[in-house]
């Protein structure tokens, strides 16, 4: 149980890691890098929204905080990229703590919590769009300067491995939580707050830890985005798109499950690419497919892809410990 729980993680990571050794298509690499960045953001969402059951509609808040902290520290102060990364992750955690402190203490749950996360993300989007510090509507452009110490890579494969390393860390963290006291407390809070309280769970503190960790991980995804594209503006960093991506992936893959975000992202974006190749480049067609999948999952398969696996191939499902 101890170590064997980590085997599926290692297998999946290894499988993704060999892709650049076998294939050499740049568009495939770009697809994978983007999917991995979204996976990481979704892993952050999954801890709060999946495991702890606090549905957020505004994880763009944390993604954007990660993007802008990393970008601004490098742009204005020439801070080293890795240090900027660490500070951005800390900023994501702090943003999570503040949002959680305000909203959980006020007792916001369910739809109300979803609304307030959305409102904070939008507030930040407007601010980032208007402030000179953030480059306003024009955004911030970072200098191209490849090198490990700048967290920039000439080869697409190297960046893919970097993103994969982050996703791997995200998987390990999720897995460690799933088998721990903290994980049990998160699930208890999701299932029934009063019962959790009666069993000695400090609900507020558990939620605060979850949202801080969630914010930190999603902020890390924001940093990856900035290091990959060397550009950020308000509609990317704090845009609704990433809030939706971060939420869709775990729901489609398997809400609250360790591999849910990864499987969900690749399922969705695989479907999206497929649709585009059939239907041509009609704008929005991939998102229409995502929406149909979301409604389908909610209506027919609340456990997502992994839930279906559990239902139709229980043996395999147990093997990979979903």
């Amino acid at each position: 149980m101890r170590f064997s729980g980590y085997i599926p993680i290692l297998v999946v990571t290894a499988a993704l890691a060999v892709v650049p050794l076998v294939f050499s298509s740049n568009s495939l690499f770009n697809f994978m890098v983007m999917s991995l960045i979204i996976t990481l953001a979704a892993q952050g969402w999954n801890i709060l929204g999946g495991v702890a059951g606090q549905t957020s509609f505004g994880h763009a808040l944390f993604f954007g905080v990660g993007c802008y902290t990393a970008a601004m520290l490098q742009f204005h102060f020439g801070v080293n990229a890795w240090l900027a990364f660490l500070l951005a992750v800390a900023a994501g955690a702090a943003a999570g703590f503040i949002l959680g402190f305000l909203s959980f203490r006020a007792g916001l749950r369910g739809s109300y919590f979803a609304l307030i996360t959305l409102a904070f993300a939008e507030l930040m989007r407007i601010l980032a769009n208007a402030s000179d510090w953030t480059g306003g509507a024009a955004g911030l452009l970072l200098k191209l300067n490849p090198g490990f110490s700048n967290m920039q890579f000439e080869s697409r494969a190297s960046f893919l491995w970097l993103a994969l390393a982050f996703v791997f860390i995200g998987l390990v963290i999720s897995r460690a939580i799933a088998g721990s006291r903290f994980g049990a407390q998160l699930v208890a809070v999701r299932e029934n707050e009063d019962a959790a309280r009666a069993l000695g769970v400090d609900v507020l503190s558990v939620k605060l830890k979850a949202i801080s960790l969630s914010g930190a991980i999603t902020a890390a995804a924001g940093v990856l985005y900035v290091q990959n594209f060397l550009y950020i503006d308000a509609n990317i960093g704090f845009g609704v798109w990433i809030s939706i991506e971060a939420l869709l992936a775990p729901l489609v893959g398997g809400r609250g499950l360790v591999l849910g975000p990864l499987i969900g992202t690749f399922t969705l974006h695989g479907l999206g690419e497929l649709t585009k190749s059939f239907a041509g480049r009609i704008p929005g067609i991939d998102l229409m497919v995502f929406a149909v999948v979301l409604i389908g999952v909610v209506a027919f398969a609340s456990g997502g892809v992994l839930g279906l696996l559990r239902r139709f191939a229980p043996r395999l499902a147990r093997r990979i410990a979903v």
Partner: protein
């Protein structure tokens, strides 16, 4: 006294659910709380466990005022409650449900799970460990409620009608379990409507009616108390029963 409440008042808007209720629970005892429907028993439990802040009065735990403490702090101090309307973690199985309780005193997963298994065995859920909580029978859910609370290794266990909804044979099965828990050193304070169980288990009984504590004493003395009979059966009932010669509640 291990637990005391001093003139607890709990108001919901215009309704006074508990009015000046004082009581004491002796360490090592099984103490009962009875009273007609809507008397305020569950409300009083909620105040003791910290789920409701009383409008007035104090809750004392081993002499210390804990009125301002949160439910989880009281659980850490050793006060565990069950819910009259059972509150299982629906999506989890029996073992996982109980493990949430045992994690309170055991940080390591292996220890917590082992403890949870032992508790499950003890309350008779050993065969249903893998079953989803949502698929349990009424009796199973009551046992689960008891098991989870017990897994927190409490000093005082507040049981809110754990026998309600069970058939006589199920009740007969669980009464020794409760007594055994007490014999292991856990003080028990229980709300119960099943008088047979109260007579059988409790050493001391409090009677609450319309929010007020109207009697206390041994089960036998309380049952013969005219005030108690009136509270249950209506005004003048005690006199009628006395005149016809029969007296049992």
């Amino acid at each position: 006294m291990m637990l005391r409440t001093e003139t607890i008042i709990m108001r919901f808007g215009g309704l006074t659910a508990v009015n000046q209720a004082s009581l004491g629970v002796r360490e090592g005892s099984i103490t009962g709380l009875i009273g007609p429907n809507g008397a305020g028993k569950t409300t009083l439990f909620a105040v003791i466990a910290g789920f409701l802040q009383p409008t007035g009065g104090r809750v004392l735990w081993q002499g210390r005022d804990i009125t301002g403490l949160k439910p989880h702090q009281r659980a850490q101090m050793g006060i565990a409650r069950t819910f009259q309307i059972v509150q299982p973690f629906q999506g989890l199985n029996v073992l996982e449900n109980i493990t949430v309780g045992s994690y309170l005193r055991h940080r390591q997963t292996d220890e917590a799970v082992a403890k949870a298994r032992a508790v499950a065995e003890r309350v008779g859920l050993g065969a249903e460990l893998e079953q989803q909580a949502s698929s349990l029978t009424v009796a199973g859910r009551k046992r689960l409620e008891l098991a989870r609370a017990l897994a927190t290794e409490p000093k005082l266990l507040l049981l809110d009608e754990v026998l309600a909804g069970l058939n006589p044979s199920e009740i007969r099965d669980i009464i020794p379990v409760i007594r055994a828990i007490r014999d292991d050193g856990v003080t028990i304070f229980m709300i119960e409507h099943v008088m047979q169980a109260v007579m059988n288990l409790c050493e001391e009984v409090y009677v609450l009616a319309q929010g007020q504590m109207i009697a206390e004493g041994t089960p036998a003395s309380v049952c013969n108390d005219p005030a108690v009979i009136e509270a249950y059966l209506g005004k003048g009932a005690a006199a009628r029963i006395a005149s016809t010669g029969g007296a049992h509640a």
